[in-house]
Amino acid sequence: MARLFAYIVHQEGVADDSAAELVSAAARIDAGQPPVAVVTGWGAELDAVCDSLRDVYKEVWKVAHAALAYPNAELVRQALVRVLPHDCILLVPHAHFGVDLSPGLSIKLDSAYVPDVVDIEGVAGASLKLVRQEFGGQVSAHVRCDISAGAVLNIRPGAYPPAAGAPAGGQVIDKSAGIGELTSRRRYIETIAAETGDVDITRQAVLVSIGRGIGEKDNVAIAEELAEAMGAAVSCSRPVVDAKWLEKSRQVGSSGQTVKPKVYLACGISGSFQHLAGLKGNPYIVAINKNPNAPIFRVADVGIVDDILELLPELTARIREEKSK
C-alpha cells in the first residue's frame, strides 16, 4: 500500500475542520497506516498549526517557505511535487482551495485524481472503490480508481467525522530543505471581504429561502410576502444570485453566508452540498420542491412535493388569516 498523506488547509494559525476528518477518511483506505499531515506555510502561524496537529496525526510534515505564507495553489502545487513521494495517496479537502490545487497536482505527480469523494468503500489490489455524487446530488455513483501510480483524492468536507480517540502524540518533521525556489505566473494580490447587504441573514431566527424553483425575478415577491407574514427574512441559494434576482449577501452556502436559524424553509432549493454547508446549528428544515428526488429531502425534517409558486401564496394567506383572528 502506498503511503497516505493529508493536505492540511489552515488559516491564521488554525487548522481547518477537515484536518481531523481526513484522518477518518484515510482509515477507510488503510486502517493500519496512520496518514501523514503535510502542511505548507510560513512563520509562527505554520508552527502553530503543525503543533496543534500533533494531537491527531502521528507525523506532521512541515513545509516552510516565505512564498507559501499565502496559500497560492500554484506555489503549493510546486512545493508538494518536490516534497511528496509521487506514488503516494494524498487526501485534500474538496473546497475552493482543493479545486484550485488538485487537478493540476495529479498531472504533475502522474497520479489518478478523483474529485469530491463522499465515501470510500475499500481497496481491492490496485483498485480503490469510491462514491461520488452527480447531477447536483440527485444520484450517486460508484467509481473505481487505479491507485498503482498514486492518487490525489479530494474529499468532501463533512463526509467523514473528525477522528476521535487518544491524542496521537505526533512529531513534526521539517521538510522545507527540499523545496528550492518557488515561482508562479499567478501572483496573489489581496483578499476583498464580501459586501454586506441590507439584511443580515446570519442573525435571523427564521429564513424563507428560495432557489431556482422561484423561476423568475418577479416571483421573489411571493417569498417576501411569506417572510413578512412569518416574521422571517428571505435568503436564497446560488442560482438566484447568479440570475441577479437577489443580492449576494442573501446567499446561503460555502461561497455565501453561514446561517444558524431555528427554522429554515427551503423553497425550490435542490440542496447541493455547497448550499447545505452554509446551514449550521441544526435548524428545523422544511423542504418544498417539485422534484421528489431532490437531495434536500434527505436532510430536511419535513418535506412537501409541490410547486412553490402555488403553495407559498396559499401558505401566506392562511398565516395572515390565522394572525388576524
Binding site: 475552493h96 484550485d100 447531477f135 440527485q138 444520484v139 460508484h142 412569518m230 419535513v302 402555488e310 392562511r318
Partner: protein, 263 residues
C-alpha cells in the same frame, strides 16, 4: 485576444429529474433533454465580452460526437466566431485526464492567449481545466468571478473563496481559467440565431490529426471509471406531508409554529 472556450453537452437538470433506469445501474436516459452545460454559457459570455473590448476571436471546442454539434451551434449563435468538434472513436470513455490530454493536443496546434472552461459540469468534477493547464504548463485559476485585462499580457482575476470573499491575483497569459456562474449575464439565444449559424462549417479533427496516441486516451487508458449509478439510502429523510394542499398547509403551520417559526 484569441480565446478558446471548452464546453460540454450534458443532460439539462432544469428540464429533467434524474432517476435510475429499471436495471438500477444507470440513469434513465430515455426522454432526457440535453443542453450545453450551464456554466459554459458564462464562460462563452465572458470570452465574448473580453473580445469586444480587446479584439480577437472566440473559438468553442468540445470533445464528442455528432450529437454534440448542437451545443457548438448554440455557442456560435451567442457570438463565438468558430467552433470545433474534436471527435474520434478512440476518445470514447475517456476520464477527465483523457479529455484534458485531447484538449491539450488541440491547444498546442493553435495559438490561444486565454482558455476558459465552465466551473464544473454534470458530474461535479471541476477537473479538466486544472489538468489542461498542468499539461500545457500554463498558470491556472479556478472559480473565477471577475476578469480584468491588463497591459503587458496579464489579467487581474478574482476567485470566489469562502464566505463570498474574493481572492484577487494577477495572472500571466497564456493561462487557463475556470469560470464561476454569476460572473455575467449570458445573452439570450433564440431559434433564429441558431438557424443563422446552421450552415457554418465545424471542423472535426481526430486523433491522427491532433497527434494523439489512441493508447493514451479513451476507456482503456482511464484510471478513473464509473462503475454504476445508485440512489443512496435515505438516511433519516424528511417526514413527507401528503394529502390535499389545504390539509398540508394546516399541518405545516402547526409544525412550524411549534418550532418557533411564526413570529
Amino acid at each position: 485576444m484569441e480565446i478558446l472556450v471548452c464546453a460540454k453537452r450534458v443532460p439539462d437538470t432544469s428540464e429533467n429529474e434524474i432517476s435510475l433506469d429499471s436495471a438500477g445501474t444507470d440513469i434513465e436516459r430515455d426522454d432526457l433533454v440535453y443542453s450545453v452545460n450551464e456554466p459554459d454559457n458564462y464562460a462563452v459570455e465572458e470570452a465574448l465580452q473580453i473580445v469586444a473590448r480587446t479584439g480577437g476571436t472566440v473559438t468553442v471546442a468540445t470533445v464528442g460526437g455528432e450529437d454534440d454539434e448542437e451545443i457548438l451551434r448554440r455557442e456560435m449563435a451567442m457570438g463565438a466566431q468558430q467552433a470545433v468538434l474534436i471527435s474520434d472513436e478512440a476518445f470514447a470513455g475517456s476520464d477527465g485526464r483523457g479529455i484534458a490530454a485531447i484538449l491539450s493536443a488541440f491547444v498546442r496546434r493553435g495559438k490561444y492567449d486565454l482558455i476558459l472552461t465552465g466551473v464544473q459540469a454534470d458530474d461535479g468534477a471541476a477537473q479538466v481545466g486544472g489538468m489542461l493547464a498542468a499539461m500545457l504548463d500554463y498558470p491556472f485559476a479556478s472559480l473565477v468571478n471577475a476578469i480584468e485585462v491588463l497591459d503587458g499580457g496579464k489579467l487581474k482575476a478574482s476567485r470566489e473563496i469562502q464566505g463570498g470573499n474574493k481572492e484577487i491575483s494577477e495572472i500571466d497569459l497564456p493561462c487557463v481559467l475556470s469560470i464561476q456562474t454569476g460572473i455575467n449575464e449570458p445573452r439570450y439565444v433564440g431559434m433564429r440565431g441558431i438557424k443563422q449559424v446552421a450552415a457554418r462549417p465545424i471542423p472535426t479533427p481526430d486523433a491522427a490529426e491532433l497527434g494523439v496516441d489512441p493508447a493514451t486516451v479513451g476507456e482503456a487508458a482511464a484510471k478513473v471509471k464509473r462503475v454504476d449509478y445508485f440512489v443512496p439510502a435515505a438516511g433519516k429523510g424528511a417526514e413527507m406531508l401528503e394529502g390535499d394542499r389545504e390539509e398540508i398547509i394546516g399541518t405545516l403551520i402547526e409544525l412550524v409554529r411549534a418550532k418557533g417559526g411564526l413570529n
